[in-house]
């Protein structure tokens, strides 16, 4: 057992989980406590209920608009593959569940390790593909900021190192798992302060957009 692993399982995880929880709660709570907007314009006539508008927008954004279907096909499929793969990897592996159990106090059934490994490989490749797409698509490239690359890169690291650790490739297992845990620590520390926060906010912001759009302009 290397000292690196002790550091990773001890102080590194402790500090990064603290920063993660602090950051996420700080951002979420202060966002919800923000005073109501001053809206001078009157609402459109016969506006749907806010709830319906919000949920509608969330559902609508799960698949691309017909008009952009062909252009957005890659981002659509790749995005779904990546997110499902990541969810399986993070929440399906026995070792990960033990981690959550320690923090949350409860666990759940794990999936076969080989299946999780397959999901991990898919996740890794689709993550890399999305980064490549971001770099090669001229419009996307202009839109991208350092935050986008950091968010992507910091997600690649834990997936890649986790795969190496489960496959026992390259270094000794204790070094691999230490590096894996440390990469998760960096991910956790950055999470609340960049676009990774979308994991918590994605449905909130989409609903908000839906509600706003619903009351704006005139009915066609």
């Amino acid at each position: 057992m290397s000292d690196l692993l002790d550091f990773a399982r001890g102080p590194a995880l402790q500090v990064s989980v603290m920063i993660f929880i602090f950051g996420v709660l700080y951002r979420l709570i202060s966002l919800f406590l923000t005073p109501k907007n001053f809206i001078a314009s009157p609402a459109r006539e016969n506006v749907k209920g806010a709830f319906g508008a919000g949920v509608g927008e969330i559902v609508r954004r799960m698949i691309p608009d017909k008009e952009y279907m062909r252009k957005e096909m890659f981002a659509f499929l790749n995005g779904w593959a990546f997110h499902i793969g990541l969810a399986i990897t993070v929440f399906g592996l026995a070792g990960h569940i033990m981690f959550f159990k320690k923090i949350l106090g409860f666990g759940w059934w794990n999936l076969p390790s080989n299946f999780v490994m397959l999901a991990g490989v898919i996740t890794l490749f689709s993550l890399i593909a999305s980064l490549a797409h971001r770099l090669t698509d001229p419009v996307l490239r202009k839109l991208s900021t350092l935050d986008d690359y950091l968010s992507g890169g910091l997600t690649v690291l834990p997936v890649a190192t986790g795969l190496l650790a489960t496959m026992h490739l390259g270094l000794r297992y204790e070094t691999l798992i230490a590096i894996h845990i440390l990469s998760v620590c960096i991910f956790l520390i950055y999470f609340p302060f960049g676009k990774l926060m979308h994991a918590f906010l994605v449905f909130v912001t989409r609903a908000k957009t839906g509600v706003e759009m619903a009351r704006k302009g005139v009915k066609l």
Binding site: M18, L33, H96, I177, V211
Partner: protein, 379 residues
């Protein structure tokens, strides 16, 4: 046991003979030495053709003087090695060495024992092997462990000075072991932290596997050199693989089949013990292959996870039962604290912001906005 004593404390006049001659007198044939040698070769994963060479050099060698020092320890390592055999091949090792000093096993005591040690050191200057069992306390000049008026620290330095090599037997001598566990009240350390100028072989384990101890000594005797060691000074032949890689329960790990308590369905079916805190994946030892008690079983086979006893600091790595993928300690309180601070911070910041906004609105004398019909406008 009687045979053991007879063998170990062999009379000193016989040291003039070669081992071959001496053993022949005792009726130990060359075939027996050859059999032992092929056993050692197999144990150490040496090329099988080495066995002839080992047998030859063993027969030509003199009895090797060994001084066994006991420091802060439980004598479990001695127990392990002396109980290793039904009188068989392994105990031949005691025909090859002359155990000149061992507090646990020798007949004499007091100044006579110390005299035996001094005599052995004098007669075999630069040629004797020192086996150390137990850690050495450094605090308060080592006063925590004293024998015959001398601290362990002084004895170790004195004996190590003219030694050929040192074998740190067990985790205490290798890495400090249990006496060095937090808060390490005696300032215990392993041998390699004190002796820097002699070859040291670490044979950790709590206790080490008997075959690993005999194998290491036999290698040193027969080939006259230190076996290949890993980065922690352990013979690679025994500590080269981790338990997890050699574990017969490994396929369950791959399939994601785990025991989640010691008496659940998974435990009864012999599933992988990772979730019960098994340290096999980060522990390097030969338990999964050589096994214990003459190859009968080893902890995982008996249904308990590996404690990692051959690794430095295994006693201070959090609970034996917390899985490797979990934080070692204190996360619950830390998480609660972070949550409290995060919430409080957000509330305070929002209140400040609201106050500021009200002030700005007041200063601009804008009438307070009427609530729009859409209640969901706020985020």
């Amino acid at each position: 046991m009687a045979k053991l004593f007879k063998n170990m404390f062999a009379t000193s006049e016989s040291t003039a003979l070669t081992l071959g001659e001496e053993l022949a007198q005792k009726g130990v044939s060359r075939r027996q030495i050859l059999k032992f040698s092929s056993y050692v070769a197999a144990l150490m994963a040496l090329p099988a053709s080495y066995s002839t060479a080992i047998a030859e050099s063993l027969s030509k060698a003199r009895r090797q003087s060994v001084i066994w020092l006991s420091f802060q320890e439980c004598t479990g390592c001695t127990e392990s090695i002396t109980r290793s055999f039904s009188p068989s091949l392994e105990d031949l090792i005691f025909d090859f060495i002359s155990l000149d000093y061992s507090e646990a096993l020798m007949n004499v005591s007091g100044s006579a024992a110390e005299a035996a040690r001094k005599q052995a050191m004098e007669e075999n200057k630069g040629k004797y092997i020192v086996v150390v069992e137990g850690s050495i306390p450094l605090d308060k000049d080592g006063i925590y462990s004293v024998s015959g008026g001398h601290t362990n620290l002084d004895v170790l330095k004195e004996v190590a000075k003219d030694a050929m090599a040192i074998i740190s037997m067990g985790t205490c001598a290798s890495f400090g072991g249990i006496p060095a566990a937090h808060p390490n009240p005696t300032g215990a350390v392993g041998v390699h932290e004190i002796i820097k100028d002699k070859p040291i072989i670490n044979v950790p384990g709590c206790p080490p596997i008997p075959e690993v101890m005999t194998g290491t000594i036999a290698f040193l005797l027969s080939l006259g050199k230190i076996p290949e060691l890993d980065h922690l000074g352990r013979p690679k032949a025994f500590y080269g693989d981790n338990i997890h890689d050699r574990c017969y329960r490994r396929p369950f790990y791959e399939r994601g089949e785990f025991a989640n308590s010691f008496d659940d369905e998974g435990a009864r079916k012999g599933y992988c013990l990772f979730n019960l805190g098994c340290k096999g994946p980060v522990t390097y030892n030969a338990c999964a292959t050589i096994k214990w008690n003459g190859g009968v079983s080893f902890p995982i086979q008996s249904g308990h996870g590996c404690l990692g006893c051959s690794e430095p600091g295994f006693w201070d790595k959090g609970s034996f039962y917390s899985p490797l993928s979990t934080p070692t300690s204190g996360l619950g309180k830390a998480a609660m604290g972070a949550a409290a601070v995060g919430t409080a911070g957000a509330v305070v910041a929002s209140l400040v912001q609201r106050k500021r906004r009200e002030n700005i609105l007041k200063a601009a004398a804008v009438p307070k906005p009427t609530e729009t019909k859409l209640g969901a406008d706020d985020e």
